[in-house]
Amino acid sequence: MKDAPYAAAESALAGEIAAAHEAGEPVEIVGGGTRRALGRPVQAARAVSTASLSGIALHEPGALTLVAGAGTPLAEVEAALAREGQRLAFEPMDHRGLLGSSGEPTLGAVAAMNNSGPRRIQAGAARDAMLGVRLIDGRGEVVSNGGRVMKNVTGYDLVKLMAGSWGTLGLLTEIAFKVLPIPEAEATVMLTGLDDARAVEALSAALGSPYDVTGAAHGEGRTLVRVEGFAAQIAHRGPALARLFSPFGKAEIVSGEASAALWRGVRDVEAFHGREGAVWRVSVKPSEGPRLVSALKAQGAFAALYDWGGGLVWLLTAEEGDAGAALIRAETRARGGHATLVRGSAATRAAVEPFEPAAPGIAALEARLRAAFDPKSILNPGRMRG
């Protein structure tokens, strides 16, 4: 945006990238640095920090929009939104606990990795909430796409392309988000003691109900379904879901802060914090989640947690050899899914592909797109794909 507090910083960074392009010198884009240990170690002599791109340029509560610099700490954005009773609805995960990292996660990283938590099933992913971006491409040119309005089909949607590109197509400088009101109340309907397959059946039943479920997770013997809204709505939907669950067992209803704490745990994969081993994140059809896990367990030692109704599976396994890569990829692909190594040592991440390799036709297309945005491959080279 014009007059954004980070406008001068954007120009300066564009100059830096243009010089790097000129020199053919790769750079690593660093925000808060809390997820540096995710993906391939970047092959770059130099880091470029987004810290100078900090500040909220616009927050219009009545229009549900927020525009801020990519280097703005996520915590600052969340606090500003909370003051107006609003939030980023896609519930981005905080990776610090899982990765054992420190620093302040930034808004740009949330966008660049399309970081979406449990509410993804109902409110959409980060990419769905992103209304517009500004970025610096690999030539040092500033490009803007999308805008700050809720509906926009003017030209190609490069906003989505940027979401989840891990800084390999451009350095994001500014992001406009759709934000949503924080509901008055929330409750979690909890079942205990179900096996994985039964648990996912219960989650499917809840997601196929009219109660507008905003979280559906299973792990450590607990099966959780969340509803949010006005107090009167929650008073209706909580018990309605408990009744729906009666074939699965007697459900308990947890509300308020206790419910919120459960979902922070799901979001941040808390059950794996402090436990040794490699952590994988797998996406499949929800009904395939438990089948995948039992196939894996028949061939090795795995612990599993489920989110997104069973469609997002977190796996913990020993970090020996390829950290389970070949086995996990084979079983996942056989089910039409894909797997990402989220936690592993630098050696493991250099030896196995952390991101799912693409089919040949898609890989060629991705390579052409990369070359279109970053012809000399100077932005985060190697991070996502070789």
Binding site: G147, K151, V153, T154, Y156, L158, L161, I182, S283, H338
Partner: protein, 478 residues
């Protein structure tokens, strides 16, 4: 409206091209007689027409791929087409182009209620997707007003929205995967069944690319469980500004209606005359719909009444039954038809920040006086997607041009206040020449490079979306 000169080398090879296509496709799939191709000379932007070289109606992805390989070799431009309801001229042919229609590909390939998706061939109409799953209590959320006719193919290409997208999002938010055939005839599987896909978000950029990146033949769509119920409230106000402020307050209060529709006086009047919906005689009217159980609906509507009451509404009419709901929606649903009865009209589609609503409505009123053409406003107020309808007389020389000039001024105003040229109808040919008002040369160049990556020869729908002078070099080089 300027379109590229048709290429003589293509026109002169029509017989050979048709013969090759006929050999590759099933019988009856190639249409080339002059009187028959005329059916495809325009879409719903009927002011512009041009019969294509030929029309092909393949019946499978494999046939689409075979046809595209031939057309790529022959270097013939291809205009993909769903049902031809585009309001932006997205499916308008040129004389040297082949229309590739997916209308014959309309099967449901898979329904999976446990995992909540449906896979269809993209020629299937929007409404019939919901039709295929509603017996099980599910629906497909994006609901353009044209849903009876428009195809999923066009919905994906335009990233179409609908009245209920305030809560459920537009096409891109409900699309999980597609099968797409490139101009070279390569079949790509993009996305899948999961809520995220590996690699770059190609699906995100394909959705809304107006048939310029590939031909989408199959799609996996999210389906959702139907809510327990839904009911609207109708609110009437003496001033547009006040209605606009009320919209903002409802949104801020945390009530998330599924729809907030806005109509101004000229539109209310036309709907009254046409549909006799029994609307009050007010300056501005809102229809706000909420979902849930009966008790939840009562509770939310009470909250909305409370907010509206602070804005001294002239009328608050809460629906208590299915009949009353239908009566409230009747006029709104008939709005376009009603306007069509009394006049020729052009429907605009700019989006603005909700906060700019009062200013923009006032400026449109002033411009209406300056241009001497009436405007009726009906739009999705919750998300700022405006649909000003400019009334004109197609039989009056110069009126269409005047109307287009007025439309362009309104769209420029939308951009000026922080909005955009089009919220859901797409750029097509209609807004092509305004793109430079919204985007800088570098912004446009980044988009053109994306097309280069998908369609290096610039054969897919090449004369759309970008101003012709911006794409000339690329189109000529191809």
């Amino acid at each position: 409206m300027q379109m590229p000169e048709p290429e003589a080398r293509i026109l002169s090879r029509k017989a050979e091209i048709v013969a090759r296509l006929e050999a590759a496709l099933s019988p009856g799939a190639v249409i080339h007689a002059e009187e028959e191709v005329r059916v495809y000379e325009c879409d719903a932007l009927t002011a512009y027409r041009c019969p294509p070289l030929a029309v092909i109606l393949p019946s499978s992805t494999a046939e689409v791929a075979a046809a595209l390989r031939i057309l790529h070799e022959e270097r013939v431009p291809v205009v993909p087409r769903g049902s031809g309801t585009s309001l932006a001229g997205g499916a308008l042919p040129t004389a040297d182009s082949v229309i590739l229609g997916v209308a014959r590909m309309n099967r449901v390939l898979e329904t999976d209620y446990e995992n909540r998706f449906i896979r269809v061939e993209t020629g299937r109409t929007n409404l019939s997707v919901t039709g295929a799953v509603e017996a099980e209590g599910f629906f497909y959320a994006p609901d353009p007003s044209s849903q009876l006719a428009c195809a999923i193919a066009g919905n994906i290409a335009m990233n179409s929205g609908g009245a209920h997208c305030l809560k459920y999002g537009v096409t891109t938010n409900n699309l999980l995967g597609v099968t797409m055939v490139t101009m070279e005839g390569e079949v790509l599987e993009i996305g899948g069944h999961a809520l995220d896909a590996p690699g770059l978000d190609l699906l995100g950029v394909i959705c809304g690319s107006e048939g310029q990146l590939g031909v989408v033949t199959e799609a996996t769509l999210r389906i959702l469980a139907k809510p327990e119920g839904a009911r609207p409230i109708l609110l009437g106000f003496d001033e547009n500004e006040v209605a606009g402020a009320c919209v903002s307050d409802i949104i801020r209060a945390g009530v998330l209606p599924v729809a907030i529709e806005f109509m101004d006086r000229p539109c209310i009047r036309a709907c009254e005359d046409f549909a006799h919906a029994g609307y009050p005689d007010v300056e501005a009217l809102l229809i706000v719909e909420v979902e849930g159980s009966e008790a939840e609906i009562d509770d939310q509507l009470a909250k909305i009444r409370e907010i509206a009451a602070r804005h001294s509404p002239r009328e608050m009419r809460e629906s208590r039954s299915a009949e009353e709901s239908a009566a409230i929606w009747k006029g709104r649903k008939a709005a376009f038809g009603a306007m069509g009865q009394i006049n020729d009209y052009m429907c605009l589609d700019g989006t603005i920040p909700v906060s700019a609503l009062p200013l923009v409505l006032r400026r449109i009123g002033e411009m209406s006086r300056d241009f001497g053409l009436d405007v009726a406003n009906v739009f999705h107020a919750g998300d700022g997607n405006m649909h000003p309808l400019i009334l004109f007389d197609a039989n009056k020389p110069g009126d269409l041009e005047l109307c287009e000039a007025f439309g362009a001024e309104i769209l420029k105003l939308c951009v000026e206040v922080g909005g955009c040229l089009t919220g859901e109808h797409g750029v097509g040919v209609e807004k092509r020449d305004l793109m430079e008002h919204q985007y800088s040369a570098a912004d446009l160049e980044a988009q053109l490079r994306v097309k280069d990556a998908f369609d290096p020869r610039w054969l897919l729908n090449p004369a759309k979306v970008f101003p012709l002078h911006v794409t000339a070099g690329r189109r000529m080089a191809a």
